[in-house]
């Protein structure tokens, strides 16, 4: 809850001593946030309350029955034997995705932050998957990851008998993470690139004069200075990772077994494919709580990770 404390720099000076100014400020503040607040109320809070309301019901869409069942759906949550493996898959998927996405984005940003002829073309090409249709993207990767697909074809050249990527539990998880990262890493890459260009060159020059090796420069100067961007991208990526399922649905359908069934895909199945809207809503509420707790924790940790935020 300590969000605005840091932001309270403006009141450090004259304004706060006058009651009328403070009051006028409050009014201005509310007017400024009014559109967003009304929107959130209408399009997030009210729907969320409705979802909670649904979660207390058994809702058979086809039979058009909507029966109050109290906490029965939450009871079901505890008894759902699939849930532990779904939650495990979700944790592995999100953690893998965030780590791989951020490291690759940072690596690409560093490589692309060089004075090199034609670097713009490279930036564009690395960014291009972001705008490619998800369907086309997933189909191609589906091909490449076949047992007799392009990737194993390349591996065979080096004498390696590649795995059956999408059919083995471990490689299936790796595959869905990697496919997802290649599609979207361009966005984080751009944010990192911008952050890197914001690092004053004089700092590096000073370090070079001091004879600091490149890696040390990176660790001591670059990382701290771009830490706010790291925080921002990691929050976006974690939250985003918990909402990914279209590619999983196409590539593995959550298999083999349940190894790539992440929570949001499970939720989607329950609500939209199996027509258990009540239980689906219950899973929604659980997903929401998990994301909220994670984000809050990250937010609290920012003081330790982030080098400066006034």
């Amino acid at each position: 809850m300590a969000v605005v404390q840091q932001t309270a720099r403006p009141e450090g000076r004259s304004s706060s001593s006058f009651w009328t100014v403070a009051r006028r400020d409050s009014l201005a503040g509310f007017l400024f946030i009014a559109p967003q607040l009304i929107g959130i109320t209408l399009f997030v809070l009210i729907p969320l309350c409705l979802v909670f309301w649904y979660s207390l019901h058994e809702w058979n869409v086809l039979a058009n029955t909507f029966t109050y069942t109290g906490l029965a759906n939450y009871q079901m949550l505890l008894e759902d034997t699939s849930l532990p493996s779904v939650l495990g898959a979700t944790a592995i998927f999100s953690a893998g995705l965030v780590i791989f996405n951020l490291s690759l984005a940072l690596l690409l940003a560093v490589l692309l932050n060089q004075k090199l002829a034609g670097i713009t073309i490279f930036r564009t090409l690395f960014f291009s998957p972001v705008v490619v249709s998800l369907v086309a993207w997933t189909i191609v990767w589906g091909f490449l990851l076949q047992k007799n697909g392009g990737i194993n074809g390349v591996l065979l050249v080096f004498g390696i008998d590649g795995p059956n990527w999408l059919r083995e539990p471990v490689t299936a998880m790796i595959s869905v993470i990697v496919v997802q990262v290649f599609k979207n890493v361009g966005l984080n890459m751009i944010l990192f690139l911008a952050a890197l260009q914001g690092v004053p060159n004089e700092l590096y020059e000073a370090a070079r004069i001091d004879g600091a090796p490149r890696f040390k420069q990176f660790r001591r100067i670059t990382l701290p200075l771009i830490s706010p961007t790291i925080l921002l991208t990691s929050i976006i990526t974690i939250v985003g990772s918990l909402q990914v399922f279209a590619q999983i649905a196409v590539l593995t359908q959550g298999g083999p077994g349940l190894t790539t069934t992440v929570l949001v895909y499970y939720l989607y199945q329950q609500a939209f494919q199996f027509h258990f809207f009540g239980y689906g809503s219950t899973l929604s509420i659980m997903l929401f709580v998990i994301v909220a707790v994670l984000t809050f924790a990250q937010w609290q940790m920012r003081k330790r990770i982030v080098f400066y935020e006034s």
Binding site: V61, A63, Q146, K147, N148, L166, Q269
Partner: protein
Amino acid sequence: MNYYKTLKSAVAAIAVAVPLGISPVGSGIANAQDAVNLRMTIWSANEAHLKLFSDIATGFKKDHPNVTVTYESLPFDTYTTALTTQIAGGNAPDMAWIFETAAYDFVNSGALYPLTDTLKATKGYNAEELSTTAAERWTKDGKLFAYPFSTSPFAMFVNNDLIKASGAKTPAEMIAANQWTWDNAIATASTVGKTGKGGLIVRDFNYQIWQNLASVWNGWGASPWSADGKTCTMTEKPMVDALTFIHNAVFKNKAMPGPGESVDFFAGNAAMTITQISRASLLPKDKPFAWDLVPLPKGPAGNYALIGQAGVGVMQSGKNAKTAAEFVAYMTNPENSAKLSQFFPSARKSLLNAEVLKKTNPLLSQEQIDKVVISGIATGKVIPGHTGFAQIQQVVRSGLDAVWRPDANIPAALQQICGQIGPLLKR
């Protein structure tokens, strides 16, 4: 652009019809001229289909000038999902296409308006000629809840070029010698498979849509659950035998592509594929190969056939369910069924003759139509389905992953699947 034009004219028609509908409101009496707008969700967005449908809608308008029918194309892959989302949101269509696998859900839930009375009351409808096997899935307590407008048999497409090149026997030769059995089919597929090409593919199965394997295991008399749907029968001998046969074909004989391997028959890369006859449209035109269409091979339990179906039903919740039912009756009357059958094989007996079918399947020979299409529709069982099928499908899919490994313990895996779907079947 036809669809666009149709839509525009439909909108114009609504614009004209709406004021007509509003004028008598003052009198407070429902008027026969009240404008009625009916919406049908479909999974085809094909231009030729939509043209035919809008022609039918126009034909209906002649006798029902106040009724306007519009068609809403939802994406094929997410069709049922999009449809139920609309229903959940309180915006159910008046009429909807329904997949055979989802049929039990819709029929048993009470979501559909019974059609039998309306069909019987329609002049010249001749409802009796609809084959009972075709209507079975769509019927409950003697009442038809959705009309199966498409009944499409599964058959074996054959690439004779590949088979001859490998030196194996072609299915046609085997049929002539009365040797067209699964063992021999797999032997041929295996020979071709060893040349580096694909052997036999159950199309769209991909180790996920397992219900398509019914095109194989029905030859063993196997079925995933009992006829009343209450008991899991996957642990019984026919199913164990059939899956063991398929497992051997995949992992020992290399006669079928393994999990995670994709081979496309219609690109000329495999010897045989099992799919619905309508897929003949995929045969390549620029790089043709010598192809054949034959019935499914004989299994240990004898000859058999499999069909896929699509039904059209009227949603109970609609305000104009009765009018919608009249439209379905019009859409599927003998005359319009004949028109529909150029895309969707009809289960009406009068349309099940070589003469009609030859017109609508120009690629097929007389013999192929007789042997594959007519007898397939007449005798075929429908792909497995069940109430709550989507969930059962998913559970079985996940359980069968244990079977699709070289060292699988098939009876144990099936035992486990039965344990998991047992409670779901009883629901």
